[in-house]
Symmetry: C2
Subunit: 263 residues, 2 copies
């Protein structure tokens, strides 16, 4: 089992990924983002996006009902269905789903994000949560019948409300539940960079023991990503690869050993 | 088997429909529109909507790639997933799909619409098509495992391209393929009106023999709807009901005999 996370950056080569995956016969689940598209749609529609930084240093988008609607447009609408269309065109029988469909990914709603405002620490509660359970039966039903699930946000919380979450956390849970051998993160960089400003500083391998140090040193989204990845590699025998989603053949490049191998 | 088409008008009571359907135990497939939402999003995003009237008098939206994107936002994104969320909240295990997913609804691309411009007749070709095949196996897989498919535009054409189509044509094909006993159209009117401007003129029953006359007399979307419905009732034993989607309990009202029974 292969889990492939396609980042939501603007320059990811979706057509190249779909073309590559047509010749990968291993059963696979695709998870994708659409953050650049979400931001573009929010801007065009005049919807304000608020990013909160928690006291522990992680960035999160503050998700109200209007932002969930914009997410539904970008993630569940345009990106998910255009990806399904691309996969179908390449002979991959894709079925696009969110965490809501068949309650595929159940989340527990976040109690709130502790943020600092001036000298005060406040709790801000939004429509976000942490994935806690996967409807493995539904995924199995699709996989066993030759379909490739293409999964994205939002998730469904304990009260059946659509909530935002971190795709990377969903990827971590999904790879554990499915017993994935390999998890590939396709991002807008050649892999994990020793110096985030130097694209030539790709780290070929991060051993398990070194992961905590790398996570502590990282910032922003990469910090979150490494945190989610550390849950995958510490809990099983899954290999994780962070690789470039912008090349002509992103998946073929991973198979050829490019990117950063973690674990 | 029950097929329920939920119209895409602004005043349709989606929450009431979802609540009602929780107590309908017959296996069901939901098809929905989102035309009011699509128009609103198109306006907010500055995307122009063009409506063409064919020489034979039927109106169609001219679908270019940008309009398909807006459809993906409105139909596949917001409306489909908010409906799935509503159904989940009412205990109906809904899975939202477009015609693209698992190639659920295959279409044949339209050759073009014959329109009159001044004294000339022109052919305008867009991204639209007619549904010709349903992936019955995928619907069966979901229905047999307790899921309620919630299906919407776009469809997938013979070259695996996303195309717009008439939801009512998809409903007609789907009800034939599934052997539906009843097809319910929930619209923004109390049923089929003898006088389209008089909401008190609901026709309680249109016998099969009278349908052609009604279709000839109707205009705009109702003309198209009756054409699609006539295909259902002339090909089998399916009953069709056109009823009000705006009441407190739209489906309960249908079960109580309200609306227009056709066939």
């Amino acid at each position: 089992m292969l889990v492939i996370k396609i980042g939501g950056g603007e320059t990811i080569n979706l057509a190249g990924i779909a073309c590559d995956l047509a010749s990968v016969e291993t059963p696979k689940v695709i998870v994708h983002g659409a953050n650049a598209l979400r931001d573009e749609l929010a801007r065009r529609m005049g919807v304000e996006k608020r990013v909160l930084t928690s006291v522990s240093g992680y960035d999160s988008v503050f998700s109200d009902a209007e932002l969930i609607d914009v997410m539904l447009m970008a993630y569940a609408g345009v990106r998910n269905k255009r990806l399904v269309e691309l996969f179908q065109r390449n002979g991959v029988n894709a079925v696009g789903l969110t965490g809501l469909d068949g309650a595929l990914v159940r989340a527990v709603r976040n109690k709130g994000i502790r943020v600092r405002e001036g000298s005060k620490t406040l709790i801000k509660r939004d429509l976000s949560g942490k994935p806690v359970a996967i409807n493995r039966k539904l995924l199995g039903l699709l996989l066993d019948n030759g379909y490739t699930p293409v999964v994205t946000m939002p998730l469904i919380d304990e009260r059946n409300v659509a909530v935002n979450s971190e795709n990377d956390d969903m990827v971590a849970l999904m790879s554990a539940v499915l017993g994935a051998e390999v998890v590939v993160h396709l991002i807008e960089a050649p892999g994990f960079l020793d110096d985030e400003n130097d694209p030539d500083s790709v780290v070929a391998r991060i051993p398990r023991a070194e992961l905590k140090r790398r996570e502590d040193a990282a910032r922003g989204r990469m910090k979150r990503k490494l945190l989610a990845i550390s849950r995958i590699v510490t809990s099983g025998s899954t290999k994780v690869v962070i690789a470039d989603g912008r090349t002509e053949s992103p998946v073929a490049d991973v198979l050829a050993g490019k990117g950063t191998l973690i674990g």
